[in-house]
């Protein structure tokens, strides 16, 4: 176990296995390369906490929860770079922005965060799929997806 200083919880103990290395950082924060993946106070959210600057912490969400059609196409080189050898190794997240009125929270589907579970390597990719934007209304799209499946 190691102790880290986190934005959401202050000082917390984490397991070595929660540490993720981002060789390219997060866009706009390229100089920060070490993060930890923490469970947020509420499921299914996570915090991606910088281990170098306490104030840098992003809220992550699995996009398939509210947008079942979502996918990111990665080529073999990109998967290899993250040490992903089988589909199970890959964790797919998007960064969520939550304003004071939480129901207006948005998710950035254009810049997904992919983590290779085995090698603990992460990278923020840019999707070339024109359907995915930087501000998707999470609650609204979750509702829409629910309706569609109810009709089926």
């Amino acid at each position: 176990m190691i102790e880290i200083d986190s934005k959401p919880f202050g000082k917390v103990q984490i397991d070595q296995r929660q540490k993720i290395h981002f060789p390219y950082g997060i866009l706009g924060f390229e100089h920060l390369k070490e993060y930890a993946l923490l469970d947020a106070a509420q499921e299914p959210f996570y915090w991606l906490q910088s281990l170098e600057v306490k104030e840098i912490a992003f809220v992550l969400l699995n996009p398939l929860i509210f947008q079942p059609d979502y996918n990111v196409e990665l080529d073999d080189d990109e998967l290899q770079e993250l040490g992903v050898e089988k589909p199970d190794d890959l964790l797919l997240f998007v960064i969520v922005t939550v304003p004071k009125d939480a129901r207006k929270m948005t998710a950035n589907l254009q810049g997904p965060v992919i983590i290779g579970r085995e090698k603990k390597l992460g990278r923020q990719f840019i999707s070339n799929d024109l359907r995915w934007k930087t501000k998707h209304l999470v609650i609204q799209e979750h509702g829409d997806a629910g309706k569609q499946s109810a009709v089926c």
Partner: protein, 80 residues
């Protein structure tokens, strides 16, 4: 900023690893080919800036707000 004129099918080397070629010019659109090592990320500037901006924005999310988010994603109802 260094400004160079290039014609279709001509290119520019940046260092010895990055090559930018002008593939095609039609009206006001230029098709550019980029050869770069894998560790040099290449982005359309406006997309790069937008994602950067959104990442900045995401940092404003307060931990207190997340605590209030319980039960937002209830299991979907059965179809029956």
């Amino acid at each position: 900023m260094l400004i160079l004129s290039r014609k279709s099918n001509q290119s520019i080397m940046i260092g010895d690893q990055v090559e930018i070629s002008i593939v095609d010019i039609k009206g006001d659109t230029v098709k550019v080919g980029i050869k770069a090592p894998r560790d040099v990320p290449v982005f359309r500037t406006e997309v790069y800036l937008e994602i950067q901006k959104e990442n900045q924005e995401a940092l404003k999310t307060s931990p207190d707000t997340i605590e209030s988010l319980g039960g937002l994603f209830p299991p979907k109802k059965d179809k029956s």
